[in-house]
Amino acid sequence: MSRTKLEKPIGPRRSAVRAQDRSRRKRSLPLLKAGKGTEQGRTEIGELEQQAFLAGYSAASGHEDSSLSYDHLQSAFLDWFKEAKRQALSWRNILAVSSAYRRGYNTAAKQTLTGIPLPLRGTVSAVVSACNEERTIAAVISELIRLPFREIIVILNGCKDRSYDCIRRHDKVIVVCCPDRLGHDVARGIGASLAAGDAVLFTDGDIVLSAEDLAPLLLEIDQGADVVLNDISPYLPPFSKQDAVTRSKMFLNYMLGRPDLKANSLTAVPHALSRRAISAIGARTLIVPPKAQALAIVKGLKIRAPKPVDVVKRNRLRSGNVGEGNEVASLILGDHIEAFQAAMELQGARLGMTKMPRSKLARKRNGR
């Protein structure tokens, strides 16, 4: 059963809702392919979406206009989801159900709420580091507000522009101003030690990522992962064309026994850490993201990279981060050496690689 068929019988919808949802529908299309095609799997999700739509519809219908808000949507969805006991769903399916629920809610409420309700068990804080980002910071925060964060901590550092004025006033947003320029890593460390949530999502003020892109990270970290990374693999060139930084990231993961993580790294945003991870690694270590990653792997924390978010092409180019051997690249290479040092302190210089005597190896390979 296709989704369009499913939606048709249910009441007329305002064109605004439709326009807004059309783009969503396009984005969540992989959902229908996700089950790799068993007709039954698809139908089950279809049915659940229908239930969600109806539940959302009834959640909104008995209420005054004034009490209908994203907060209400979120708490109503959370209650319904707990009752429906759909804990085993993948994040793709959860997002589809959430979107159906919101469509029902919006239809009944005759509203156009854009917030995404998520069935979170714990609380999540967002940390945004920003330095002179007046052009993007407002958009970054309006996307974050569409997610059920406990708080959104914005670390403004070394700002000489109107970044502060651009930040929308909202009861969840906490702004921390530092006169000195700190760099993303230090700012994230400060954010991590200020954050009160059970988990923290980190992103930057210079890149606008949609709430739909960030939601999977929240779901993964809430469902028990300790470290959730952005899966940047689809955006990377083949190995022969990769830069030194990308190779170092891959090298670190491979050598620590996690080749499946490829070049995914805490160096890239967005990423999320559980409270357990932050205390195991230490907020100070977050200043050197590859070192934090190495410790996370060595300490056996649960690390996942569920979804690709394209930050490679959208990254702002600055004088410092262009070309081979640029300042930022050198910084990150140094960070990786520091990461190796931290791992080697715990596991020895060969990180558990074979120390078979060369004579024995030779006999094994060339002996007659």
């Binding site: 760099g183 460390g189 400060i190 190995f239 520091e338 690689m353 060339n366």
Partner: protein, 271 residues
Amino acid sequence: MLRKRRLAGGARQRARDSKRPVRRVLNHPNPIVSIIIPAMNERATLPGVLRETCRVHPRSETIVVANGSTDGTPAIARKWGARVIVTEEPLGHDVGRRVGAEAARGRILLFIDADMIIPATELRPYVKAVSEGVDVALNDYSGPLEGREIHPVVLAKYSLNSLLGRSDLKGASLTAVPHAMSRSVAEAIGYEALEVPPLALVAALLRGYKVRAVHSVPVGRMNPIKYRGRQEDPLTGLIVGDHLEAVHRLILERGSRGGYSDLGRQRDKVR
């Protein structure tokens, strides 16, 4: 032109050998180039290898380090006129190279393997580079890059070069033959460093020696596959571990950031 080990098969090889005039290795009494060949049970390919080494340089010596061989490798090497060092114990390529280098008298050391016949024309560029002032001349070959998954050894070679600020070397490495170095480098970094090739490379680079990838010989395609199927070749773990030791050396000599700046990060701001 590049012949695989046992590719021609024993019989065909012998038939061809018998038609050619037997050339002997001439060891110059006062050599400039020392060609070092560790060999363990390589009777099939050693004659072919030695035939090429005679043509590398007019003033050269050829040293075969026959280790742990039970197939008459030392006798073949002697018959061909090479200087032969025999050890009963197997040494492995790297230790074999060290032993050969210590015995060498030339001021240019050329390292090749006994299981791979590389034509003299493909070996001369390395000797030429060192005679013209390069301190360490590497094979400009990075290993197989195609395929969905990158091989850990290839990744380790590339990454070590990158961390040393020598991305231009790509995946060139002292673990791969052929390579050449001036004897003064071997003396400066210590002959024992040759036993762990990536360690020797780090030592040479940190001392500011001129390291270049001078010429490409695609040895990966000529290397015999000794481990088939799912079983992982223990050599992979050994080489990868060697590269980690090299990273460790970099840390010991240049500090925990390997000499890279911290870009003024104010670490004390986070508590």
